[in-house]
């Protein structure tokens, strides 16, 4: 009743009914893997919501940041600590969800023409999300994150020619820690980065709707799936509920980032086993495995951290960004595609994807190489060399193996791909009304 009256009220002023009819009846392809992007979206929404709450409690100055975060544990903020835990857990899960979603897009070929731009927007959002997380956990100005910031500062310093200027821009001063560093991080983390992600996200979703979601069903002319209302809408609300439930459980039972233990950041205090949050850990691993060689190019010495700390992530980012075009170049497939592929259909993609995942995993694990060495009772030097060899030879071995497996799997699957899921068809009955029929499409 209320809904109808609201709809009428809006329609009389904005003419929304035509839009609503189309929107509510719109067909969304149905596959479990299509919910991965939604998980990322819901984590982002939780981050924004809890983040807004936290801005009322946080003191964005170098001196006041740490005490204000500790104060969340006081009685004066009854749920402050839980909100902070939810926020940090959501950040950890957010980047993980993006990566898994990106994997689905990659291996199913959803990035192919005409969706290359959307893929690039997604890759940009992954980078922005990681950077937002990094600035976020550096805000409390605690011992652990301060160590990471110092490393980032040193990597920025290592840029040839413009290093000192770039590092100065990053920290807002001539040296580390600069007085304005926390304030800079705050404006980045609370304003510039989330707004950019939000705008890109809106574009990302708009393109999905406008270009229509890809589907596994081999029907290039029709979209086969479920209607938005009530099928898809309720399902996506269930996904939101699952996300919130998982976050609530994690924040309630598992502590994350205990800044009270790390103490405030003091440049002369270090701690064994300091690593960044997992999504930045691949950089830490790269730094630990990188060679000590200092090259001198045209009279300019290049600090060794430049290559693993900056060149590697930049090249990776550019490679990911350009992948749709690289694949077109290699496979020669310039056609537009709205139908998804089974991953095994393109062994090259499986090989490259597997190699990238292997490298990423290896570098992430290498970030904790000292803890691994201690646990396994292996000398650290030995472990570093094992990782280095694996880093150089591993992607080829893994890629070849993955391609081989893909070829074998593809040979053994029937040509017409997965069976089509149920379609919902409107059928006019004898009385003249319309009923929905679930049709088991062949």
């Amino acid at each position: 009743m209320i809904v109808r009256r609201t709809a009428t009220w809006l329609d009389e002023r904005f003419g929304t009914n035509t839009f609503l009819h189309a929107a509510l009846a719109k067909i969304y392809p149905d596959h479990w893997s299509f919910y991965l992007g939604e998980f990322a979206l819901y984590f982002f929404m939780v981050l924004v919501g809890t983040g807004i709450w936290l801005t009322f409690a946080f003191d964005a100055s170098a001196q006041g940041a740490y005490p204000s975060v500790l104060a969340l544990a006081d009685r004066s903020h009854p749920i402050g600590y839980v909100i902070r835990q939810v926020h940090h857990w959501a950040a950890v899960c957010f980047v993980a969800a993006i990566l898994v979603h990106m994997g689905r897009i990659f291996f199913s070929g959803a990035f192919r023409k005409p969706r290359e731009l959307n893929w690039m927007i997604g890759v940009c959002m992954l980078m922005l999300a990681s950077f937002t997380g990094f600035t976020g956990y550096s805000l409390p100005n605690d011992g652990l994150s301060g160590t990471g910031l110092r490393i980032a500062y040193s990597v920025a310093l290592s840029i040839p020619l413009i290093g000192r200027w770039a590092a100065g821009v990053f920290v807002g001063g001539d040296d580390f820690p600069a007085p304005l560093l926390t304030t800079h991080l705050y404006t980045l983390h609370v304003y510039y980065l989330p707004v950019t992600i939000g705008v890109l996200l809106a574009l990302h979703l708009f393109f999905v709707v406008y270009q229509k979601h890809t589907q596994f069903v081999r029907d290039p002319k029709r979209v086969v799936g479920r209607r938005f209302w009530p099928d898809y809408a309720l399902r996506t609300v269930a996904a939101l509920g699952a996300t919130l439930a998982v976050l609530a459980l994690m924040a309630t039972f598992f502590e994350i980032n205990p800044v009270g233990d790390y103490g405030p950041y003091r440049p002369w205090i270090v701690m064994n086993g300091a690593v960044p949050d997992w999504y930045a850990a691949f950089l830490e691993g790269a730094l630990r495995l990188g060679p000590r060689t200092e090259f001198v190019i045209a009279g300019h010495p290049i600090p060794p951290v430049f290559w693993p700390g900056l060149v590697l992530p930049t090249l990776t980012f550019l490679f990911l960004l350009a992948w749709p075009f690289i694949e077109v170049r290699v496979t020669g497939d310039r056609a537009a595609h709205d139908v998804l592929q089974r991953p095994s259909a393109v062994p090259l993609r499986v090989a490259v994807g597997a190699a990238l995942i292997f490298e990423g995993l290896l570098l992430t694990i290498a970030a904790g190489d000292d803890q691994t060495a201690a646990t396994l009772h292996v000398p650290l030097d030995t472990l570093v060399w094992i990782y280095r060899v694996a880093l150089l030879a591993g992607p080829f071995a893994v890629g070849l193996l993955a391609a081989r497996i893909a070829v074998e799997v593809h040979v053994r699957t029937p040509d017409d791909g997965p069976p089509r899921p149920d379609a919902v068809v409107l059928v006019r009955n004898a009385a003249g009304g319309y009923v929905e029929e679930e049709v088991q499409a062949g």
Binding site: D30, H31, W32, Y35, L36, F39, A73, D74, R75, P78, Y81, V82, Q85, W89, V92, C93, A96, A97, V100, G143, L144, R235, A239, A242, T243, V246, M250, T252, F253, F254, E255, I256, N257, P258, D261, G263, R266, W268, I269, V270, M271, N272, G273, V275, P276, D277, W278, Y279, A281, T364, A367, D370, Q371, A374, T375, P379, L380, D381, P421, D422
Partner: protein, 231 residues
């Protein structure tokens, strides 16, 4: 395990073995009959009672293997010799080891100051929360979760293995009391101010749990989707 042999030996010995007996049975084969050492173990002359007490009380000595890795990340298994035997051994060795750091007196001190001392002097090796960690090529700073306050004080004054020696010039008695008390306080699970019951052990396990959450969510949507298709 490694400590089984000395146990057996000491049990086989007479009801109340003297320090000399224990030394001859459990120590002399590596440290030499006159404590001057051998190719298998260092000299004990002037090493200090703090050193001896640390190795004996933590069970790192008697060691079954010569030059065994004694500074290990793992918690040691506990004292290998019964307390009475350790005291007898210490009494026997007292004239030999005199000249090095003596057995320290310690009592729990100011925790806030202890935290400051720990952060500046200990955290680089023993990590936040006393979790220990790697300290180089093949050495590890052990976790401190089961150390007694006397073991902590012994280690600080004696500097066993790769650990530096913090003598009177580095730590006053007050510093020693403070930091030893703080180390012990880390072992007590702090009831958080409404904090979660499972404490964090660092960003590495946190990241792993994040992926567990993603897997749980994937299982949820996959299971629901399969259920829908079958319905």
């Amino acid at each position: 395990m490694l400590t089984l042999a000395p146990w057996l030996l000491t049990v086989v010995l007479a009801a109340a073995p003297t320090g000399a007996d224990i030394y001859a049975t459990a120590c002399a084969s590596c440290h030499g009959a006159q404590q001057w050492g051998s190719p298998d173990g260092p000299s004990l002359h002037r090493v200090g009672m703090a050193d001896v007490d640390f190795y004996l009380m933590t069970g790192r000595m008697p060691a079954a293997k010569p030059w065994i890795e004694v500074a290990h990340r793992d918690e040691r298994a506990g004292q290998a010799l019964p307390l009475g035997h350790i005291r007898a051994l210490e009494a026997y060795l007292a004239p030999v080891v005199a000249g090095g750091p003596p057995l320290p007196e310690v009592a729990s001190g100011n925790l806030a100051r202890g935290y400051q001392v720990y952060a500046v002097n200990c955290q680089q090796c023993h990590a936040v929360g006393g979790n220990g960690g790697s300290i180089g090529r093949a050495d590890w700073a052990p976790a401190l979760h089961q150390a007694t306050i006397n073991e902590v004080a012994d280690a600080i004054r004696a500097g066993p293995g790769e650990m530096p020696r913090f003598g009177d010039q580095q730590f006053t008695q007050a510093d020693l009391d403070d930091v030893a008390g703080y180390v012990l306080s880390m072992q007590i699970a702090q009831p958080g101010s409404g904090g979660p019951p499972f404490p964090s052990t660092g960003p590495v396990p946190e990241g792993a749990l994040g992926y567990v959450a993603i897997i749980v969510l994937i299982a949820f949507v996959f299971g629901s989707w399969r259920h829908d298709r079958k319905a």
